[in-house]
């Protein structure tokens, strides 16, 4: 918003999306799932911007909020110089041609009762553009572009293979040569052999039409392969944003480090030398997220400051300005996470929503804390104490 940058296609500032939790009565305090909680990022024209995170991190909600499938709770979205975060669905309509989505489950995102050709023709029908023979010609044109047989017009989705279905989804998104395509885990429901095909197709189309992608995935290796920049998301917030190569060589945030340690390496020697970090516990509830750094209950490096202070996304340890991480104790290059133990009490590690305990209790030794936190029974009794 501050400096108009022609290179930036999409700018998201402090985006917040809460979902109300079904409450049991009128007088009870309403609770919210903090699905996306203050996310800022910008996507440049022609790049692929990857977003990675675990299930429940809010990455899909972020994608859908940017596409304005949801009304957002707060924040702003600037697309191609236009602030769209408060647009009504009606006002969004013309913009829908510019922002498209490709969904995870090609079976679920194609209407099972309609013919593939008619589904791909939907954008034309919805925006009242091409009709009759003209529409069919354009649909067949699209089908050819994405590598579908243009004569394969009539089957219903159930009669197609997984690859054909996802190609149909891509064709539909491509109808108006949109400026931005949000790919929400476009390949994670596909067989590995087909994943590569679809990813190559997306890359070819990007080169051909100068498309910009937001590529959401939980699989780091896929994201690394396709993205120019990558954002890591945890519990509704971004923990680290960096050019893909930087991120994969020097991850600053321990969460990124933990994710990376799970990626299989092509070199077996290297693979053996590396220790895999197993994160402790489950992702905390997004209804009452932890205080401070949201990752602190599971972080091997967690210190009292992580509980009390929310970290800011900024360059760490002399990184370039494009590489930012939200961490009080960023990792140095070559640092091994497995060497660290949190310096906060076990009680704080599993607690949710800022219910801090007194200093005395925080003195518990870290070894005991580790044991407590991993034992399922302990976690349960912690829960009861609240």
């Amino acid at each position: 918003m501050s400096t108009p940058d022609n290179d930036v296609l999409l700018r998201v500032d402090n985006l917040v999306k809460y979902f109300p939790v079904k409450s049991s009565g009128y007088f009870q305090k309403r609770e919210y799932v903090h699905a996306v909680d203050g996310v800022s990022l910008s996507v440049r024209r022609g790049e692929t911007f990857g977003i990675v995170g675990e299930t429940g991190s809010g990455k899909s909600t972020l994608g859908r909020s940017i596409a304005r499938l949801y009304d957002i709770t707060a924040g702003s979205i600037t697309f191609d110089g236009e602030e769209i975060s408060r647009h009504s669905q009606r006002r969004m309509r013309p913009l829908r041609r510019q922002i498209q989505m490709i969904f995870q489950d090609p079976m679920g995102s194609l209407n099972p009762r309609r013919r593939v050709g008619s589904i791909i023709g939907d954008p034309f029908a919805i925006h009242g553009l091409a009709t009759g023979a003209e529409r069919k010609r354009r649909v067949q044109d699209l089908m050819e572009r994405v590598g579908l047989n243009p004569e394969h017009f009539n089957p219903i989705p159930a009669e197609c293979t997984g690859g054909q279905r996802q190609r149909s989804g891509v064709a539909r998104a491509l109808a108006f040569q949109p400026k931005l395509i949000i790919c929400d885990e476009p390949v994670s429901a596909l067989d590995v052999s087909i994943q590569a095909q679809v990813i190559n197709l997306l890359a070819d189309l990007q080169a051909e039409f100068g498309l910009t992608y937001i590529f959401i995935a939980h699989d780091l290796s896929v994201v690394r392969h396709v993205s120019n920049n990558v954002a890591v998301m945890y519990l509704g917030q971004l923990t680290e944003i960096a050019p893909a190569d930087d991120l994969f060589t020097v991850a600053r945030h321990p969460y990124t480090g933990a994710l990376l340690s799970a990626v299989p390496l092509p070199d077996p020697d290297q693979s053996e030398r590396r220790e895999q970090i197993i994160l402790v516990g489950d992702v905390p509830s997004p209804i009452a997220p932890p205080s401070g750094c949201r990752f602190h209950p599971r972080c091997p490096k967690a210190a009292p400051v992580c509980v009390s202070t929310v970290p800011v996304l900024e360059p760490k340890l002399g990184d370039r300005p494009v590489h930012v991480a939200a961490c009080h104790l960023p990792m140095a290059q070559g640092e091994n996470l497995a060497d660290f133990h949190p310096t906060i009490a076990a009680a704080q590690r599993v607690i949710e929503g800022g219910g801090l305990l007194s200093g005395d209790e925080a003195e518990v030794s870290t070894v005991a804390a580790e044991a407590l936190a991993t034992a399922p029974d302990a976690a349960q009794s912690e829960g009861r104490r609240q």
Binding site: R90, N111, P112, R113, R114, A158, E159
Partner: protein, 331 residues
Amino acid sequence: MSSSPEVRGRHAGKPAVTSGSAAGTATMELPPAAKKIEGRSPWRLALERLRKDRAAKVAAGTITVIVLCALLAPLIASWIGHGPNQQFIDTGLDAEGNPLAPSGTFFFGTDSNGRDLFIRVLYGARISLVVGVLATLISVALGTFFGLVAGYLGGVVDSLIARLIDVVLSIPFLVIAISIAYISHPGFWLVVFVVGVLAFTYPARIVRGQVISLKEKEYVEAARALGAGPMRIMFIDLLPNVVAQVIVYGSLLIPLAIVSEASLSFLGVGIPPPTADWGAMINDASGYYQAGFWWYLLFPALALLITTLAFNILGDSVRDAMDPRGAGIYE
């Protein structure tokens, strides 16, 4: 009134039975088998199952015969030479003016006006079928519309439609029906309208439940991402996915509509005389049959019973065929 499935699907009258399974089937629009075996649509699978169902075949055959009777009634009448409302004062009544028993001239005997019961029963099939089908079309159309709108839009619209359904269900069907018939003048279209409109509650509830589970699907989100408005999503994207359920329940509404029509005519507020109608004929017969004129009651009653039975058997089979989980998986 309540959102529990059992309460939602209930009614004092008949189709309540199906409610239990309705809640269960709502989430499944494709049998899992259809995903694996490509090229076999659920429709075709259902048809194959129906073909193996003997009861369904007998019921379908019976319905075909009834439809033929209704279609050919004028032909048969002119061939025999007896009109449906023609009174045979001399040949159709005995010396004391009472109905005649079945004979070679009058296959089903005559009624108290000396009319040919056989021909009248044939003509009665026309009213029953036409009212049954037209009323069902009305209730299915209305119910699908309200169900789609309530389920997709949710919120206030949903609550309003739910209360509307509650109100319609709160006053017993026959009370509303005879009241309406009393205020305006009874006639064919009024009966179609009353029976059709009042039965919209069943398809409305079923479609609403379906839509609520379907609207979470990604293809609905995909349509919104393309810029489709609520109308297009409801009628182009969701409608084709509820049609199967609607057809199943629609087929069970036909016998209900036929009985409703016959009941109204039986109470004298349905199809006005002298039109041949089974319900009205049974009412006419009620003053006679106990005095030995059994045929007067038997034939219209049998015709009505066979018709509703055939439609119910076929409807049940169609439902079982579309949702095979209902049968025999517990052993």
